[in-house]
Symmetry: C2
Subunit: 252 residues, 2 copies
DNA sequence: CGACGGCTTGAGGCATTTCAAGCCTAGTGG
DNA sequence: CCACTAGGCTTGAAATGCCTCAAGCCGTCG
């Protein structure tokens, strides 16, 4: 994998090795990255949906606005994330996507996806893998919402984010940059901002998590995982190719 | 679509018309349906995952058992539902699937799916559509968990189930069979059984919902949708083929 | 008939929310 | 360099939705 590979190819290589032909196919289809400022709405609920995106730089989030003016944040996107692929089946966007920082995004029209389906079953499998991965994340979040209290929810979110950041090599072992306000975390976890603040306070007293501005420090990562009852299996899905040995699951 | 079409073909025809060649391809790959009794575990978390299934008859549910012995039910499956497709990306099952009634299921090995990817981009698109559909359902449930109170959760679940049953032609306008105990609904919605009972009691007093054994009667479906703040867009994703006119969305 | 699972009802308790006020801190303009 | 401001965060107090525990009821099945 050379540095000149696109963000997309880098992302895909994560799941399985790509042939040069597949790389070529992907590169041919890719439109050049677009730069956008923090706070940019990439698309909104109801917009026509004809393409998906890969976030090559920056942070973003997907959300849904409710009738009462509140919003539920559905996903926090970090570099390398595929965004809006699940809306392939729909004519209009279901969710709104907004950038949190200055970002770069590559767009891929759905009709190019059809070409991929026609030409490479390896890439098709990979897209399926990504979709399955996304579904596993969503499922885990559903459980998080339904079954855990505020401390567990927050611990789970922090630990999951740490893992995802490490996976893309964007943080060291126990410190992550997290450009999210408590308001945003509240909207993500379905908890009031007041209670997010209190929960962080508890973690601080326990020496579990220290949050200073955009940085979160986690002295004992394992302890945090225990609070969250975190089971990392759902993050580890790779592509099941005969040539590939099963991956180790990083269960905690 | 002839009555001799498999459960799978019937399910797929729902999203887009199939050519005879595609039908033939699907039929060729399909293993004969398997009959199982109520309460049968089709697979469990941790089992090797090498195939997915289509439920052709009966009810089932997917769930995840928690460390404390409780469980979160992730999905209720009705006839025509594709089960376990999201685990394509994983070597082992993430979720447990159990039948609720006497059921019939058709299994499809993942390697057959690869053949479909090789031979028909229409079917590939369809599988993608199904995956996207499933993701939309999950997202909606996430919102349901995070943002709504017990009455809204229950109303939303009932309304969604009514819609899904109507879609497969398995119920009339305001009465559905629902072979789920209150315990099960509680585990699905993340609410205690006691509170499920009380919430049904409130609905009964309001004349909104009457539950008698396995049957649920909803005199005013629209009123229920209002309680749930139900927006049906997420149920309506079809395949975006150039030849196909956009579907009407049944927003309430 | 007796037993069991599923449902209902009551009372008390707890996690989280809401409302409200005050505090830090970064950024701005004089 | 210092006031001023605004947004984000913290803290307290009261309210509430849901949970837990516990007892009783009802219908089904052996």
């Amino acid at each position: 994998m050379s540095p000149s590979d696109s963000c997309f190819i880098r992302h895909f290589s994560h799941f399985a090795p790509l042939s040069d032909r597949d790389k070529h196919l992907l590169k041919k289809l890719e439109v050049n990255p677009v730069s956008v400022n923090a706070g940019t709405t990439l698309w909104e609920t109801g917009d026509p949906a004809g393409r998906f995106g890969v976030l090559s730089q920056g942070w973003a989030f997907s959300c849904r606005y409710m009738e009462d003016g509140t919003r539920q944040i559905l996903d926090i996107h970090i570099p390398g994330d595929v965004i809006g692929l699940g809306e392939y089946a729909f004519h209009h966007r279901l969710n709104t996507v907004v950038t949190l920082t200055k970002s770069e995004i590559c767009y891929f029209p759905h009709k190019h996806l059809q070409e991929v389906f026609d030409e490479s079953s390896t890439l098709t499998s990979l897209f399926f893998t990504i979709a399955g991965h996304h579904q596993a994340l969503l499922t885990e979040r559903l459980i998080n919402m339904a079954r855990r209290n505020a401390q567990q929810k927050l611990a789970h979110f922090l630990y999951e984010t740490l893992q995802r950041m490490q996976r893309i090599g964007a943080c060291n072992a126990n410190r992550i940059e997290l450009p999210l306000s408590q308001q945003l975390i509240a909207d993500l976890l379905g908890i009031s901002t007041v209670h997010i603040s209190r929960t962080f306070a508890v973690f601080r007293e326990q020496g579990l998590v220290f949050r200073k501005r955009q940085w979160v420090e986690i002295p004992d990562v394992h302890a945090l995982a225990c609070v969250a009852e975190f089971d990392g299996k759902y993050l580890d899905g790779g592509l099941s190719l005969p040539s590939e040995a099963p991956r180790q699951s990083s269960t905690v």
